[in-house]
């Protein structure tokens, strides 16, 4: 296990926040981490304090004018990035059915260079999201524990297991659900998680990302929470997730 894709078709459930903060937490533990930003809004690219208009970027790699190993950009947070660009929207239009494994091919030569490759996907049933899913060894589904997230999780799991696994040889993939925006002081969030646990049991991660304004502040300041406020419960949660991934990676090596 090496490539982890953060994906759910629903928007606003902390895909980018989870990708960037997990990456930063892993890097802090000495792991070599690459973030792949597939979202044309380039939020992960911006979060890691890179200019999304700059070259090299993932658009150039998809267009074949730049090789993936030469398109990697360094960040001051110890994480490497294949950055997004507004022109990724054109790639989305140009991808045709059958092109779902293009990203897998792109990152293949990079796998040996990294302990973890984390992929941030755009929301919606988009070809680039499918590319992110097809490239994954492990799919982490960030689900908001604020609203009824169960439908969104079921939609993603159904799509992966019924369509993607049928079309491509991906049945080695594993899926886990990461609850985000969790409010432990209300009855609502625990109730949502309890309900989800009845359906997906052990596929729900024990660690839950708390609801907090620290993530907005972290994005504004372009500093991952592990650096901004290492003792904050939000930072500790991503630290726990990073430890879980390292253990999981060792067990499934």
């Amino acid at each position: 296990m090496k490539v982890i894709t953060f994906s759910i078709f629903k928007g606003g459930t902390a895909k980018t926040t989870s990708t960037v903060n997990t990456a930063a937490a892993l890097a802090k533990k000495g792991k070599k981490v690459l973030v792949v930003d597939l979202d044309q809004q380039a939020s992960a690219t911006r979060y890691l304090d890179l200019d999304p208009d700059a070259s090299p970027n993932l658009y150039e790699v998809f267009m074949g004018v730049q090789q993936a190993p030469l398109a990697i950009r360094k960040t001051k947070h110890g994480v490497d990035v294949l950055s997004s660009h507004v022109l990724m929207a054109a790639i989305e239009e140009a991808l045709e059915p059958g092109d779902e494994t293009k990203l897998s091919d792109i990152i293949m030569p990079l796998r040996a260079d990294y302990d973890f490759i984390l992929i941030d996907t755009p929301p919606g049933k988009a070809m680039l999201a499918f590319n992110g899913l097809a490239a994954a060894d492990l799919i982490l589904i960030p689900a908001s524990a604020e609203r009824m997230a169960v439908d969104g999780v079921a939609d993603l799991i159904n799509h992966v297991q019924r369509i993607m696994w049928n079309k491509f040889s991906l049945s080695h993939q594993e899926l886990r659900i990461l609850f985000t925006m969790y409010r432990s002081t209300t009855n609502h969030s625990p109730a949502i998680v309890d309900n989800a646990r009845k359906i997906w049991r052990d596929n729900i991660l024990n660690v839950k990302i708390p609801h907090s304004t620290i993530f907005a502040r972290s994005y504004d300041e372009k500093i991952p929470v592990s650096k901004l406020e290492p003792q904050h419960p939000g930072a500790i949660a991503y630290d726990v997730l990073a430890d879980w991934l390292i253990t999981y990676n060792n067990e499934n090596a």
Binding site: D53, Y59, F62, M63, A90, I91, E93, A94, L95, E96
Partner: protein
């Protein structure tokens, strides 16, 4: 992956009408754009779309 887009796809990306894209293509605004004889569909190279987007942002 296609290396070109049709007028509808470019229209969607630029959030303009398809007729506008067709007119621009006829005016030669997209370098290398060609029209397929049978279908009358425009084939607009992604690289020429890129050029247009980048020049507009300048």
């Amino acid at each position: 992956m296609k290396s070109y887009l049709n007028a509808s796809e470019v229209a969607k990306l630029l959030k303009v009408d398809r007729a506008t894209v067709t007119r621009w293509a006829q005016q030669g605004k997209f370098k290398g754009a060609i029209r397929i004889d049978k279908s009358h569909q425009w084939r607009i190279p992604i690289s020429s779309y890129e050029e247009l987007v980048k020049n507009d942002n300048k």
